[in-house]
Symmetry: C2
Subunit: 417 residues, 2 copies
């Protein structure tokens, strides 16, 4: 079971979480719980780090930000004990959850489960802070924002759990963010691939890596709400969203009167920033001089566009990076200015990426055209485009995010009746 | 160097601390820094634990409350790096700082210093969160409130440091809390023994155990203010309060025109709670049945008074415990009611202990009498009395704390001109 920050925001809510956990134990399950920091806490800690040092040392950043989950893990163990359950916390360095040494965005290598297996087998509930691990040199690592979902799936895989229930502040996966579109509909099922695209573009329900990992490790993931009645049924029968393979989805829908939907969902992501390098010399290897140093600095580049300049001797290169990495990106590129040979570096953090996602897209043309026309009709300017087999994304001005999502939700016929 | 919670309260203040640390390094010193949590943070975390579970499991409590110092250690390392210093944090479990397994009030056994010695020798500033350690079974421990001072002295002793400078929100040790008595005077020197009594009764400048440890390990401790000008001289020449042995004090004062002061300082402590057990059977071993279980539960009992009842077959026993342990004390005593045989358990957390302290007391009678008369003259009722060689303490109603301190400060001639 995994509980997000909104579910853990304060001792009153943690008491509700403890009640939900206890009900699973009473239903005969052995339970491990992965928890996020209290809602807002990680932001508070990240801001401290930025104020302390804009170009922060990620190893020290991890020391600071990992504390949020340490607090909620201890508090949930205490609360479970108050409800009469046996429970104890297991910090990332205690299990340990082994990761690589890419501080602030570490990847899990393996999890030692002997100790918690013994503890759980003896009737103790294991409470594990999400988001954190231990580097080979024995320092705290964190997995990147939203990393607690990945922790949960990794723990479920390591324990060979029957199910990984991810409790959030929504009661499932919707066609889009219901806070933006009131007519958004809840999906009963979504494929791993669709979920990957929705997560990677900021649908905020699950972290990308957690879904990849679930797909790779074959972990059954259920998304459901932690804001349920105290006398609600056990999670096995709750109407969350199940994340399944494409084959399983086809099997489920076979024979049912399901109108084939081209688009499954629409996602918006404001956590990207745009970087423009002007007048990069147009020669072989130029692009490598830009993206090599960024990769070395563990900065994930997303959309990339290259415009050849007027005289065909140079070119403008535009790309996006996580907004959180913008300061480091600028530092890396400024240091590499000589090697790259660009004239000017411009950045814009006020952008949003809007994506339409659906496996139905594979077999139908015209999905992108519908998108571009719908946006153009409302005067929304497209700054960049990227596509994959089951996704089309555009970069727009951040101020137009909500408008764009609403327009597209209607255009693709997703509005609930 | 050790910085308290007020000095670490927010990134702006941490920047000032980093400047003070850098100045010591620039003066040619190898520096290890021990830090407290941001002011108010530990209270916030303790309250979370109490809300989660009034009778909290101290091992989980430690997981929660140790996070405050983890945050400030990481932030100070980041801030020092921003000032161009090399620095890294070393958490309690990383050094490790070995403690026993008395969670929430652990005692330090030893500190492995090989790693930080190498790091400091290479020019890196070591930043160590105070208050925390590692138990034999590999879990986080904390040292009890104010434990960061003890951490600092223990680290100074383990590193065989030339000096242990404790920076606080006051610029030295005063005759009493200047927030209560405007005419309080700063002491240039105070003996370990006096400091012990002042700390143990809540003068709030240094934790008792830190002073005992400094005395035992012969660590030179200086108390000074972190709120100094950026261009102030290095700490060697700052006018803080030096804590010295009684012999050294006599040496320093020899020949100088120092009027021998009976009383060095007055302290007030509101963190105690009074417990009354009514009609305890008056038989041999009765007291052991009360205090044995409390000792087993690691609860420190302070003042103890026994009143024989009217019929000389039973007795009332009054004593004080730390207010934070009151709930646990009640639980322990209720469980032991059969064994002890008392009739009724009453508690009162609204009490304060007022103490007058001074090595001059050894050679002068009448110190206690002056105290009782001064309090009686203002109608302040004394609920309990305890004395040591260099201290006399009384328990009074908490509402009368400030009045009592002012009255006594004047009565013993401590008011500044």
């Amino acid at each position: 079971m995994k509980f997000g920050g909104t579910s853990m925001a304060g001792t009153e809510r943690i008491r509700r979480v403890a009640g939900i956990v206890r009900r699973q134990q009473e239903a005969g399950h052995e339970v491990a719980v992965v928890v996020s920091a209290m809602s807002g806490e990680t932001d508070r800690l990240v801001n401290f780090c930025r104020e302390a040092n804009a170009l922060y040392d990620p190893a020290e950043y991890d020391v600071v930000v990992a504390s949020g989950e340490q607090v909620t893990a201890g508090l949930l163990a205490l609360t479970l004990q108050a409800l009469g359950c046996r429970a104890r916390s297991w910090l990332g360095w205690q299990l340990p959850i082994h990761t690589d040494d890419a501080y602030a965005k570490a990847r899990i290598g393996g999890i030692d489960t002997d100790a918690i297996r013994a503890s759980m087998g003896g009737g103790e509930i294991a409470v594990i802070p999400g988001f954190q691990g231990l580097s080979p040199e024995g320092r705290i690592t964190t997995l990147g924002r939203g990393g607690s979902d990945t922790s949960a799936v990794a723990v479920a895989a390591a324990l060979k759990a029957d199910r990984c229930d991810i409790y959030t502040d929504v009661d499932g996966v919707y066609t889009t963010d219901p806070r933006i579109v009131a007519k958004a509909r809840k999906l009963k099922h979504v494929t791993f691939e669709e979920m990957l695209e929705l997560a990677s573009v900021g649908s905020k329900v699950l972290q990308t890596r957690s879904v990849s990992l679930a797909m790779k490790e074959n972990v059954r993931v259920q998304v459901l709400s932690s804001f349920i009645d105290d006398d609600a049924p056990a999670a096995d029968t709750l109407p969350g969203t199940m994340i399944v393979s494409e084959e399983e989805l086809a099997e489920i829908q076979k024979g049912a009167d399901v109108e084939s939907q081209l688009i499954t969902g629409i996602a918006a992501d404001k956590n990207e920033a745009k970087v423009i390098l002007t007048r990069v010399p147009d020669r072989p290897g130029a692009v490598a001089t830009i993206f090599g140093p960024l990769a070395a600095a563990n900065i994930n580049v997303d959309m990339i566009i290259q415009n050849v300049g007027r005289e065909h001797t140079d070119t403008d290169v535009t790309f996006t990076v996580p907004a959180a990495d913008l300061a480091r990106t600028q530092a890396v590129l400024e240091e590499a200015q000589g090697a790259i040979g660009y004239e000017k570096l411009t950045t814009d953090a006020k952008v949003a990426k809007i994506s339409v996602v659906g496996v139905g897209m594979r077999s139908h043309a015209g999905v992108a055209a519908t998108m571009f026309k719908a946006l153009a009709d409302r005067g929304i300017n497209i700054q960049a485009i990227s596509t994959s087999e089951i996704k089309t994304s555009v970069l727009i001005d951040a101020d137009e995010t909500e408008l764009a999502v609403r327009v597209l939700h209607t255009a693709y016929g997703l509005d609930a009746a």
